[in-house]
């Protein structure tokens, strides 16, 4: 085991706020968010790059934050589930997951919301097979996924209308 590990100074912008921290190189991004920045909306599920509960956006692209080192995210812009709300207005995806019962226990929901957002940012009217592919990296053990599909379709429609 190497000794005298030097901490690394990093700066990240999370949901629009800048944070400067000195971190151990082995610190995972998900633990930076949860334990150091106290943003516990991002969940840890499997810790093996499988379940997707820890999905966040890093520089505009979804990543599994249990499989990114905090030092790799240095200078990065991060969006977590806490950043979806605008003032006290829930994001259309959050409204839709609530209205369509796109969750039961809710553990996977933060990750699914981020994957869904990444999809709808790239495709405003996704087909079922595009939705399937977009949430393939997120595991939900409760819903059987059908209501998640409904939620994403419903949010897509709302977002298309609001764009006019």
């Amino acid at each position: 085991m190497p000794e005298n590990i030097q901490k690394v100074a990093i700066e990240v912008q999370v949901n629009g706020t800048k944070y400067n921290r000195e971190v151990e190189p082995r610190l995972l991004l998900v633990d930076l968010l949860r334990d150091h920045l106290l943003l516990t909306g991002t969940h840890i599920g499997c810790e093996t790059t499988y379940c997707g509960a820890c999905t966040v956006m890093l520089n505009g692209a979804t990543v599994k934050s249990c499989t990114v080192l905090a030092v790799q995210a240095d200078q990065g812009e991060i969006l977590t589930v806490e950043g979806l709300i605008q003032g006290d207005q829930l994001h259309p995806l959050q409204e839709a997951f609530s209205a369509c019962h796109g969750l039961q226990c809710g553990y996977c929901t933060p990750g699914l919301l981020m994957s869904s957002l990444f999809l709808l940012q790239n495709k405003s009217d996704p087909s079922d097979s595009e939705i399937r592919k977009a949430i393939a990296g997120n595991v939900c053990r409760c819903t059987g996924y059908q209501n998640i599909f409904s939620s994403i379709r419903s949010a897509a429609e709302t977002m298309r209308k609001s764009k006019g």
Partner: protein, 298 residues
């Protein structure tokens, strides 16, 4: 589930990366996207003293075609390749890049990392093999280029020297009468394939096969070239008999091991079927047809 402690080094250029690597030698690991290495670090199957981060190097993220040669930088991410013009002009590249794991992994993982890891279940090796690719490696001593077949030595083993890094992979842009396809069979998107098959072939105007290259993943210690199966196609007009012969030859050339993804016999049968599917899709693409290829998910 936490990596063992390591010293962190961030390289800002390829030259800096190889010079740090030369200095630290065996005690160091390099990290690009980290989608294979971070899980290994967390399981402590890898416990390097030093980690050299290549993620901040910008010079190796290109995907370009110049003078009929496609060149992909080692740090090009799967998602970037998926949305590049090469994924359209060389459809087998699109099949592979869009089918790796899930979007979260494709947004981080790199082609150079995948090839240098030489995992027998990796997706890129069979595809790059049928495209007859070359790998360029850089060390403080300079640059060298070798064929992918010489680069991959064994399971998880490459010809890379201790102080060498992959800088790019390149291949001749296939002609207009050439077409390819890549199919994998996966139990779910996140897991490694149970078997995969890549085919790149060229048809004559009369529809007979001028040339074909076939490679199979996950059915041996390295990617296996199905030379006999390709021989079955050469000079033939494709029909069910020719396809069946090629599929059988491929199945017998495979060298799978039974594991949690299936028995040896099952994988042999599976890879033969995948080879046939890939030949069919590749042949249609040779004739200019747009064919959408999606992996099979159990």
């Amino acid at each position: 589930m936490y990596p063992s402690a390591f010293h962190y080094h961030r390289a800002s250029s390829l030259a800096e990366a190889v010079s740090i690597l030369a200095e630290l030698g065996d005690d160091a690991k390099v990290i690009a996207g980290g989608q294979s290495l971070i899980p290994l670090l967390k399981l402590r199957l890898a416990t390097p003293e030093h980690l050299i981060d290549l993620g901040f190097i910008t010079e190796l993220s290109f995907v370009e075609t110049e003078q009929e040669r496609v060149s992909i930088g080692a740090l090009a991410k799967h998602a970037q390749i998926e949305s590049s013009s090469v994924a359209k002009s060389v459809p087998i590249v699109g099949d592979c890049s869009s089918g790796i794991a899930d979007h979260q992994v494709r947004n981080r993982g790199t082609i150079g990392g995948s090839l240098a890891e030489a995992d027998p279940a990796g997706d890129w090796a069979p595809v790059m093999l049928v495209l007859d690719s070359e790998i360029t490696c850089v060390s403080p001593k300079g640059e060298r280029t070798l064929s992918l077949t010489d680069f991959i030595v064994d399971a998880y083993a490459t010809d890379l020297e201790e102080d060498e890094l992959v800088s790019r992979v390149s291949f001749a842009a296939p002609s207009s009468r050439s077409g390819g396809a890549f199919f994998a069979f996966k139990r779910s998107s996140q897991v490694y394939a149970s078997a995969s098959a890549a085919v790149q072939m060229t048809l004559e105007k009369d529809g007979s096969c001028r040339d074909a290259r076939i490679a199979m993943g996950c059915v041996g210690l390295t990617t296996i070239q199905a030379l006999e199966a390709a021989n079955e196609l050469r000079g033939q007009v494709l029909n069910e008999t020719v396809l069946a012969r090629a599929g059988e030859a491929a199945a017998s050339e495979a060298d799978p091991q039974g594991d949690m993804r299936g028995s040896e016999a099952y994988k042999r049968f599976l890879v033969g079927s995948l080879v046939k599917q890939a030949i069919k899709a590749a042949a249609r693409r040779c004739q200019g047809e747009k064919v959408k290829v999606s992996h099979f998910y159990a």
